[in-house]
């Protein structure tokens, strides 16, 4: 025992038991490129069979490792090749049949989400892309565990404004078609700029065409552990010490993720892909990114200083995590979803956190406007405008940004939408309702930005 420090042992146990430290997701990425078939029925059958074969042992293996090592592992998920790529080969197919095949296969192997009902259209549409996008509302209404994402922009390609327009409509329509279920469909739809092709987190996970046939990604978490560590630091400690403490804690958290990745990869005989160094909050009290920012010294998340604190957090998490892992990828950084974060929910309820402040925060966080509930009468053009703004931030700053908003059909600002579970609940946040539709209706491609003369 002399090799081990008693304090280290008890610190680890406290992180697991009191501070909600867990491995948030083990996600198996599966390529479906060998399932392409001009006969949609055959293609769906191949998709179903490949997922059921590759992921047959995923859930029991991960659960066994969790029990054997005493590491909480919350979610088991699957990401697949963007379905639009398979759809291109069968022009007469109903895209929703592919969504149903993913849903059935995911349920068969026992995962809680399958991501990859996806199209990558940042530079334009290829065969299958438009049909997939048009089918998203139906696909999300008729399935339970399928997640959808569309990449509408990239730093090197600019923004596909025709796709931006379509996605505003798709978000609204998806919410309408699931209005009887808290508009849950829209919570499973993400619109990206610079989408990573190896992201293990939902709803934006898909298995990019450059990835291997099958691999294991791990998404770590642990906002509660970072918050608890900062709570023990003196309030007059200089900000360098805050950054150092976040780095040290992120290192420890990430090492747990790397251990799990190695174990799962070895047990399943599937190569380990990446570790996603993310601070992903949950609605549990204290397991909150907003609370971390408040521990740094803000009265409430959303006040002046929030963007600076978030910038420090996002950067320190990466610096600590990079050394702790073999390969880093995915979204990596601090997530700022509203409905999944207890502190964000309170800040939004009190009016301290607004959509405009969230937009500023997305310039320095890991992803974007996430799990934000907006009034039900918000027009598709306004949603497209928000998507364009967010994508522009990502495009110009060479980072991933995304929009996942839920129009609360039939409800107004100040009311609440409750999804239950990890997706949480949240107040409906007011959004500027002035009309950008002339801009959105122009279509075309917003040019890619200069990568020099930076200022």
């Amino acid at each position: 025992m002399s090799m081990f420090n008693k304090g280290d042992i008890l610190e680890t146990i406290e992180m697991f038991t009191q501070e909600n430290l867990d491995v948030r997701t083990v996600t198996m990425g599966i390529s479906l490129l060998d399932c392409i078939d001009p006969d949609p029925k055959k293609a769906c059958e191949k998709v179903y069979n490949k997922i059921c074969t590759r992921a047959a042992n995923l859930v029991p293996t991960v659960e066994h490792i969790s029990a054997e090592y005493g590491i909480p592992i919350i979610n088991k998920r699957i990401s697949v090749t963007p379905i639009a790529m398979l759809l291109g080969a069968c022009p007469d197919a109903d895209p929703v049949d592919f969504a149903k095949a993913l849903d059935a296969a995911g349920k068969k192997v026992g995962v809680n989400f399958v991501g990859g009902y996806t199209a990558l259209v940042h530079k334009g549409f290829s065969a299958g892309d438009k049909r997939l996008i048009e089918s998203i509302p139906r696909a999300l209404a008729q399935t339970d565990i399928v997640c959808s994402s569309v990449n509408i922009g990239a730093t090197k390609a600019g923004l596909n404004m025709d796709a931006v327009k379509m996605m505003g409509q798709a978000v609204r329509r998806t919410a309408e078609m699931t209005a009887d279920r808290q508009c849950i469909g829209a919570a499973k739809l993400v619109i990206f700029c610079n989408a990573p092709e190896d992201n293990p987190f939902m709803a934006g996970a898909f298995h990019g065409p450059g990835e291997p046939d099958c691999e294991i990604h791990v998404g770590v978490s642990g906002p509660g552990a970072v918050r608890a560590a900062l709570a023990r630091l003196h309030k007059d400690a200089p900000i360098d010490q805050v950054a150092e403490l976040v780095k040290r804690t992120a290192f420890k958290i990430t090492r747990v993720g790397q251990l799990v990745a190695n174990l799962v990869s070895r047990e399943l005989g599937v190569p380990a892909g990446i570790i996603d160094l993310s601070l992903a909050p949950t609605p549990a009290v204290g397991d909150s990114v907003a609370n971390i920012l408040e521990e740094m010294g803000l009265e409430q998340c959303g006040c002046c200083g929030t963007t600076a604190c978030l910038a420090l957090l996002n950067d320190a998490v990466k610096k600590g995590g990079v050394m702790a892992s073999n390969h880093v990828g995915g979204l990596s950084g601090a997530f700022i979803p509203v409905s999944e974060d207890d502190g964000m929910i309170h800040a939004a309820e009190s009016g301290c956190l607004t959509i405009e402040k969230l937009e500023a925060m997305t310039a320095v966080c890991s992803v974007g406007i996430d799990m934000v509930i907006i009034p039900g009468d918000t027009s598709a053009a306004v949603i497209s405008g928000l998507i364009a703004d967010e994508a522009a931030i990502g495009m110009v700053n060479s980072k991933t940004t995304a929009v996942r908003v839920i129009p609360a059909i039939g409800r107004k600002a100040g009311e609440v939408l409750d999804f239950g579970g990890l997706l949480g609940y949240g107040p409906i946040m007011p959004i500027n309702q002035r009309d950008p539709s002339v801009f959105i209706n122009r279509g075309g491609r917003l040019p890619a930005p200069m990568q020099s003369l930076k200022n």
């Binding site: 025992m1 081990f4 420090n5 008693k6 304090g7 280290d8 042992i9 008890l10 680890t12 146990i13 697991f16 038991t17 066994h64 029990a67 054997e68 090592y69 005493g70 590491i71 420890k252 090492r255 747990v256 790397q258 251990l259």
Partner: protein, 89 residues
């Protein structure tokens, strides 16, 4: 196959005996024990070898948790590799 059993909570009579009793039932060999009062709480750490454990990992974990509940203390069992990963470079 080494693991640490940690017992945290209010100190009472028979803590070591009860935990050691469960280890004996499950054929878990105790290699080292240390206990102390940390931040006002009783904390015992046992280094154990679980190679010979006569039940599945899932059941072992359930039995340990059940004993913790019965004693009103928090008992965890965690493989040594987890601490290696987190606290050594």
């Amino acid at each position: 196959m080494k693991a640490f059993i940690t017992v945290v909570g209010q100190d009472t009579v028979g803590v070591v005996a009860k935990v050691a009793g469960l280890c004996s039932q499950l054929n878990i060999n105790i290699e080292d024990v240390t206990q102390s009062i940390l931040q006002g709480m009783f904390a015992m750490i046992m280094l154990v070898d679980i190679s010979g454990c006569n039940v599945s990992h899932e059941e072992m974990r359930a039995r340990v948790a059940a004993l913790g509940q019965e004693m009103g203390m928090q008992i965890n069992i965690t493989r040594q590799e987890v601490f290696d990963a987190m606290h050594t470079i």
